[in-house]
Amino acid sequence: MSVFNQSRKRVIQFIMLGTVLVIVARLFFLQVVETKYSKLADANAHLRKVIYPSRGIVYDRHGRAVMRNEALYDLMVTPINVKNIDTAYMCEILEIEKEEFLRRIQVARNREGPRRPSVFANLLSPDMYGRLQESMYLFQPGFELVQRPVRSYPYGVGANFLGYISEISPGMLGDTSGKYNSYQQGDYIGMTGLERTYENILMGQRGIQYLVKDNLNRPQGSLEGGIFDTAAIAGKNLRLALDIELQVLGEKMMAGKIGSIVAIDPQTGGILTMVSGPTFDPNLLSGSYRARNLGILFTDTVKPMLNRAIQAAYPPGSTFKPITGLIALDEGVITPDFGFNCRGGYGLCGRFSRCMHSNPGHAANMRAALANSCNSYFMHLYRLSVDSKKWGSTKLGQAKWVEYLNAMGMGRRIGIDIPSEAGGVVPDTARMNRVYNNVWNSCSEMYVGMGQGQLILTPLQLANAMAIIANRGHYYIPHFVESIDNDNSGILKKFKEKQTVAHISPESFSSVILGMEDVVTHGTARKAQIDGIAVCGKTGTAENKARINGKVVQLKDHSLFVGFAPKDNPKIAIAVVVENAGFGGTYAVPIARVLMEKYLNDTISVKGKPYLTEMLKTNTFSAEIKNKSKLDSLNSVNYAGAEGAVIMRKILGQ
């Protein structure tokens, strides 16, 4: 029997060896040929945890923090540990229904699995946080409070240029340029304002920690003792040219008005204040009700999210006249002594355009024409400029004229360090050809000489023009950030370069400047007189039209003022626009005066106080806007943080 079955021993050995060979072949495939398994094992066991550094803090020119970080609390839930809790009580604290409670648990379960914590309620309001904190022992261990840094604004101002951060959008994540490669879903990114421009600096450097995790996704310690980890580096702090007291004052005065204030330090180009009225408390966009507030702000009829200082363009009206004069002088088509015999109107272009004054000699020279704001004089200067024989043709003359404007930062973006800047509109030849079907001459748009017609400028451009005049021919690109702590990237270099635009003699300049001084001493801007300081300025009362229900309607004039002070060694150049308010002297001048006085003297004199209190009271909203806008009710909750209120009390002497 044994011998008979000897061959069967071979068969059995063959079966065993064959099976083992199949196993070996499979092992060879799994362990040697296929490489994906080690990657899968790493993906299984490694947890890449991003450590978020705190964002950089933003200080004003005197080192006061205007945007910093504050800790709010998120309520986190670990679904598997939620048992035997008083659901009804928690729902009561969080002001949610039982169904919502269960839904959120389910969402958390789906997002992170039952064993890892995920957000149950984010950015709790102080009230909810307080009540939860007291009774946390009732809800543990399933629930816990986790600190989360958010932006806070102690002065509650500057919303329009500081900007806000928000979760990166799917569109940005899908961007193929590689700009957002270092971001992942859920990361915060600066969306507007300085937060956006200086995102890379404020963000700091994210740290990465590699952890090993077990099968239930629980971290089990650092990988290889942390040799692959990188530490988080906090964002760098920005130091602005901004004077936070001016900002508070400006925003308070613009509260009931639509319009804008821009003040620049002409010697550096630093923005001292930039107000877009009406605006909102930036704290509204970083707390618990952020989403709700954002919705209201975006849809409000007064458009508080719009930064009118750089995004809205207005006909400059008479405030443009110093620039018309400057160009004519620089081109050499006139001298400061050039006079024009204005008899109450301008008739050289066929029809007679009336103007305010008719007394003889009111436009005998540049200084007088500016002081008296003679429309005829400046329309004529514009015509002389573009018609000058030295250009060869009116079109070339127009092109040259626009070139001047561009050099001064008009009709193009100046390049301020916040996004969404508008360039305004200037009557370049392409535009003239389009509007006038290629048939036009210096008479066609002679009104631009007095700041009307095919010319609209942003308040920033107006303020910058004042800086040019104050500096007698040059400017620095207006900017918020003067310096960045511990930074040598050279990102601010372009703001330190002098931009020279005019080459006229000091005598020629002085005619324009003296004219502007006269406007303040005995002209339309008398409210801007500050004892002991030579203020130069020019008011504007700009006609404007709007298309309402298909009909072009003439609206109430915009009130404008531009100016700088002191006359010699100027420290502040300012532009104020109050939309549809009336005369320049009524609103824009007092507002500018208060700010200039505050900045130059650091106090507001007895003479200035009435202007301040009046401007704080005045509301220029139309009845329709008052009815529709919900902004006041939103701001009244906590507008201008505690620090802002302190400043106002100090200034008002209460």
């Binding site: 029997m1 044994s2 008979f4 079955n5 000897q6 069967r8 021993k9 068969v11 059995i12 050995q13 079966i15 065993m16 060896l17 099976t19 083992v20 199949v22 196993i23 070996v24 499979r26 092992l27 060879f28 799994l30 362990q31 040697v32 296929e34 994906k36 398994y37 080690s38 899968l40 094992a41 790493d42 299984n44 066991a45 490694h46 090993v212 995790k213 077990d214 099968n215 239930l216 089990q220 310690g221």
Partner: protein, 428 residues
């Protein structure tokens, strides 16, 4: 029993003994690796017996005592009591079926004063002894159908009870005895039929049953066409072909669907589909996938002992018992796995060598039984960890954690060593 020290170990087959120790030691290392975490107090764990590896040390101690006992027993004892063993084993199985304790969905455990014991493991030994006893009996003529049926019955009886205990995996191991019976004269065609049966089941699962029906019908038609002259002479040939066709068709159309819906449990069906790559439910494929990731990520040289992330962080379930091979594959890589399999293959071939040198049928059948059981366990266990077999929970002999398993295999091997040592004494 006054044998001297020299005589005590006389006749022992050192290679087998060495490989036995090696495998138990590797098993200990693997169980330790599966459980050890940085900072564990090894001594404390060993004393408090709160880790599998620590308990495995205890079980090894018990096993060595058992092995010594067996070694000191006269080999005639096993031939004499083989049937008693079998009866006792069956009794245990029935007791468990009645009062068994449930562990992970099966009722195959018996609680004995705090210790849990799985008789289905032990019964393998009993069946092996009883089968050897029956096949070596003077009155057995294994060329007769009756003897073959009795032998098959002896194997199928415990198998049936274990299936009733929901331990399908352990039950399947009893099929290993067919390899023994083949060695002893069971017609080879049975192996062919068994193989065809497996192919038939697999195709029934993978291919739509109506398509299979068309294929069978087509094949039958072709076969009939080519055999038309023979059929004209001999009608029985046609009957045979039609019978085979009818069997295959009904098997695919009715038997397989019936077994899958009514006999097998849901999880078993799913595991089979997972193995065939037909099921993509991540929950169902989790074990196999994690185990393949563990082994695959070991690479050529392995991650190093105690460095495997898959095993250290519990990604692989049952990693000190059924999936113990993952730890070896991950920490020691392809090279380590190859050496490990090499030890096993050497053990198997050595046992067959020993079997063939026996003079008594009893010893030979018994040794073949040991080889077949170890082989079945090895093949199915490792194949399920690398995705070649459905996940049926059977341990890797001598390596997996578990007292029942380690003691059973120790007894299996040492009884064989005892028989081998005494091979010159008697000719039965």
């Amino acid at each position: 029993m006054n044998r001297s020290q020299a005589k005590l170990t006389a006749g022992i087959d050192w290679p087998i003994f060495g490989m036995y120790l090696a495998l138990v030691f590797i098993g200990f290392l693997a169980i330790f690796a599966a459980e050890y975490r940085e900072g564990d107090h090894v001594i404390q764990n060993l004393l408090s017996q709160n880790k599998n590896w620590a308990r495995q040390v205890l079980w090894f101690g018990v096993s060595i005592v058992l092995a010594t006992g067996i070694w000191l027993t006269d080999s005639k004892f096993f031939t004499a009591t083989a049937n008693l063993f079998y009866a006792f084993g069956i009794l245990l199985l029935l007791v468990v079926l009645a009062i068994g304790t449930g562990v992970k969905g099966s009722n195959s455990w018996l609680e004995l004063g705090g210790f849990r014991f799985q008789p289905a493991e032990f019964t393998k030994l009993c069946t092996c002894l009883a089968l050897a006893k029956y096949l070596s009996a003077m009155e057995t003529d294994f060329t007769k159908l009756r003897s073959r049926l009795i032998a098959v019955g002896m194997v199928m009886f415990p198998l049936g009870i274990i299936i009733l205990q929901d331990e399908t995996g352990l039950a399947l191991v009893y099929l290993a005895f067919f390899l023994v019976m083949y060695r002893e004269g069971l017609p080879g065609v049975l192996l062919v039929i068994a193989f065809s049966g497996i192919v038939l089941v697999l195709s029934a699962l993978l291919v739509d049953k109506f398509i299979l029906l068309y294929i069978f019908t087509g094949v039958a038609a072709v076969v009939i066409y080519f055999n038309r002259y023979q059929i004209r002479r001999k009608k029985s040939r046609l009957v045979t072909i039609i019978a085979i066709w009818a069997f295959c068709a009904s098997f695919v159309m009715y038997v397989v669907p019936f077994v899958f819906t009514n006999v097998l449990k849901d999880y078993q069906v799913r595991r089979i589909y997972v193995m065939l790559g037909q099921e993509n439910d991540p929950k169902a494929t989790y074990n196999t996938r994690q185990s393949m990731i563990a082994i695959g990520s070991g690479g050529f040289w392995g991650k190093g002992y105690l460095k495997g992330t898959q095993t250290r962080f519990d990604f692989v379930p049952e990693q000190s018992t059924d999936f113990i091979f993952c730890t070896i594959g991950e920490d020691f890589g392809f090279v380590g796995s190859l050496i490990f399999l090499g030890i096993y293959v050497s053990l198997l071939l050595r046992i067959i060598f020993i079997a063939e040198r026996q003079r008594s049928t009893f010893s030979r059948v018994y040794a073949y039984g040991v080889a077949s059981i170890i082989f079945f366990h090895l093949a199915i266990n490792i194949m399920m960890t690398i995705g070649l077999a459905p996940v049926i929970g059977i341990p890797l002999p001598l390596v997996s954690y578990g007292g029942s398993s380690l003691m059973t295999f120790t007894m299996l091997i040492f009884i064989m060593l005892r028989l081998d040592a005494d091979r010159q004494m008697v000719l039965r």
